[in-house]
Amino acid sequence: MLGEGILKGLAETAKNFAGSYVSKERLTTVQYPEERAEHIEASRVFPFLVYDGPDAFAGMRCVSCQICEKECPPKCIYIEKSKDKKPDYVGKPQNYPVRFDIDISVCMSCQICVEVCPFDAIKMDSVFEMATDNRFGGLLLDREKLLKSNEYYHSIHPTEATEVDGRLAEEKAKVEAKAKAAAEAAAAKAAAEAAAPKTAAPAAAPAAKPDAPKPTGGAE
């Protein structure tokens, strides 16, 4: 019969129409901004810089190695390396970025900077409501805007952040154990050379000393 196919199709749409009143499965539209879709842990938007502890500057993980700047495909990261150094999370003096800009009008959210960073300093954010009426300054994120705390990182990517913390704590413990061993060796040496107390003490890694008693701290 001519028109049978059309009727069959109409029956299908009728079913869907009626179904949308009873089955939640069929109501897929999320009424943004009143409603929001559930946050997906892996989702990524633009990168941000992680810092540990309460102070953004002191806890900044980035050591300004500029690997991300070099690997970023559209070249939207601009870093200016500091002349002086500040201690990083294990206490080793490192450079830090005096300027760290990401031009998010160019950034394509590819996550390559995150992958190549050897210091777990840069991670992907999940904030997407970044509309601005200033297409130049408004879309150029500087260091202050980029720095976000480790707690924030935990709140958006809990699994990944815990993993990173574990890795960092492990590394820190390793460095500390090494420093402790070195300190002990130096102390032994100093004791051995007690007869002739000369220049042994100042050379023996003094920076790591205060942290030495707690080898597995770090994971918050």
């Binding site: 001519l2 028109g3 049978e4 196919g5 059309i6 069959k8 199709g9 029956a11 299908e12 749409t13 869907n16 069929r26 897929t28 997906i40 842990e41 892996a42 989702s43 990524r44 690997i67 690997e71 970023c72 495909p73 394509m108 959210s109 590819c110 996550q111 390559i112 992958e115 190549v116 992907m124």
Partner: protein, 396 residues
């Protein structure tokens, strides 16, 4: 602008194109004027920024010239300027509907270049995301085809509803819905959790019901059949000689599927069929996609039964300072739209010396004129939709 029939007719005859029976041949002697119409570049049904210069005799197409390049982003040259890894996110933007299969083809080419092996689990994940990509591409292309026909909304929205579930899975795994940037040379970037695999199982389990629904909705619809059957016929000889691949080729009855021919990845472990068309018309191309959807479900059902454990990345694979030895490689896969290939020449530095993409939509588009000659303007829109092109890939 009007042009004389004689001018175009003569050109048509000189080209020696044999038109199938039933199509109108313009007689250059008959006189009369032709109307030249520019369709696009912003016509809503042109799937991106694409223009067709058509010459019409009444309603009939006498000549059609595709004009593209509006979306040219210098992809290949950029590939030569960038490191191997940095091109990976750019491949997402070729055929932006199917970023994961683009990743796969590129990763395959580089792996061939350096002789890199891929761990078992990564192969499974690649296959799973690849087939999910094929499913959502076919759902979408059918939806858009029907939309082009004038059924605005309903079938396309049903398609979008299903595709949304797949995109959610992509986001949960890769972090992005469309620009996934997931595969690496020697594996995949992140591992899938058991919950994610359960999510895939759930979506795949719901797919046959959707395929049934879609088929009931569309396949026997009289209007659809009248509009698509016998329209835009692509003869198999022409398809083969023009290098057409993918569903468009198989709809013309040529049995050529790179998953079966090359058996790349782990496709040889699964049992699936290659659906073939008979007439090579728009209806066959539409049906092929629905049938391939079912085959993808079948592959996924088998693959999801036992996904092996283990690493997803070869631990020896390098991310930074990746410098292949001098040489060349061509890696290709059966992307949802056809044969997607990457050709790379390495000169031993960190950037490829030559980086070339063989995009399926671009090659499939070359037969557009031959498919359209003699049909009406309204059919052109359908025929274009049935090839399933994405301009990101055509223009690169």
């Amino acid at each position: 602008m009007t042009l004389s029939a004689a001018e175009f007719g003569a050109r048509q005859h000189a080209g020696g194109k044999a038109l199938p029976e039933g199509r109108m041949v313009i007689d250059p002697e008959s006189g009369g004027d032709l109307l030249e119409v520019s369709m696009g570049p912003h016509h809503p049904s042109t799937h991106g920024v694409f223009r067709m210069d058509v010459a019409l005799d009444g309603e009939r197409i006498v000549r059609l010239k595709p004009v593209f390049g509006y979306l040219h982003r210098n992809h290949e040259k950029l590939g030569e300027e960038h490191s191997y890894l940095a091109s990976m996110p750019y491949t997402d933007r070729l055929d932006y509907i199917c970023s994961l299969t683009n990743n796969w083809a590129y990763a395959l080419a580089v792996e061939k270049l350096v002789g890199q092996e891929v761990p078992e689990r990564a192969e499974y994940l690649r296959l799973i995301v690849g087939e999910l990509t094929r499913m959502q591409n076919h759902i979408l292309s059918v939806g858009f085809l029907i939309q082009d026909m004038g059924a605005s909304g309903t079938p396309l929205m049903y398609g979008f509803r299903e595709r949304e579930k797949i995109l959610d899975l992509f986001e949960a795994l890769t972090g992005s819905r469309m620009m996934c940037n997931y595969m690496r040379f020697g594996g995949c970037r992140v591992d899938a959790t058991p919950e994610w695999l359960d999510g895939v199982r759930k979506v795949v389990a719901g797919m046959p019901a959707f395929a049934d629904e879609f088929e009931r909705l569309l396949c026997t619809n009289e209007i659809l059949m009248a509009r698509t059957q016998g329209v835009g016929v692509l003869r198999p000889e022409l398809a083969v000689s023009a290098g057409v691949t993918g569903p468009a080729l198989r709809a013309s009855g040529v049995n050529y599927d790179i998953r079966k021919v090359d058996r790349y990845g782990i496709y040889d472990r699964f049992d699936f069929k290659v659906p073939l068309g008979e007439h090579g018309d728009v209806y066959d191309r539409f049906m092929i996609r629905l049938l391939e959807l079912r085959q993808s479900i079948r592959i996924l059902e088998q693959a999801l039964k036992d996904v092996p454990g283990g690493p997803v990345m070869d631990p020896k694979a390098k991310i930074r300072n990746f410098r292949p030895k001098p040489g060349e490689a061509y890696g290709r896969i059966e992307a949802p739209k056809g044969e997607l290939g990457f050709y790379l020449i390495s000169d031993g530095t960190g950037n490829p010396y030559r980086y070339r993409v063989r995009p399926p939509s671009f090659v499939n588009l070359t037969v557009l004129e031959d498919m359209c000659l003699g049909y009406s303007v309204a059919d052109v829109v359908l025929i274009l939709g049935s090839i399933d092109i994405v301009l990101g890939e055509v223009d690169r």
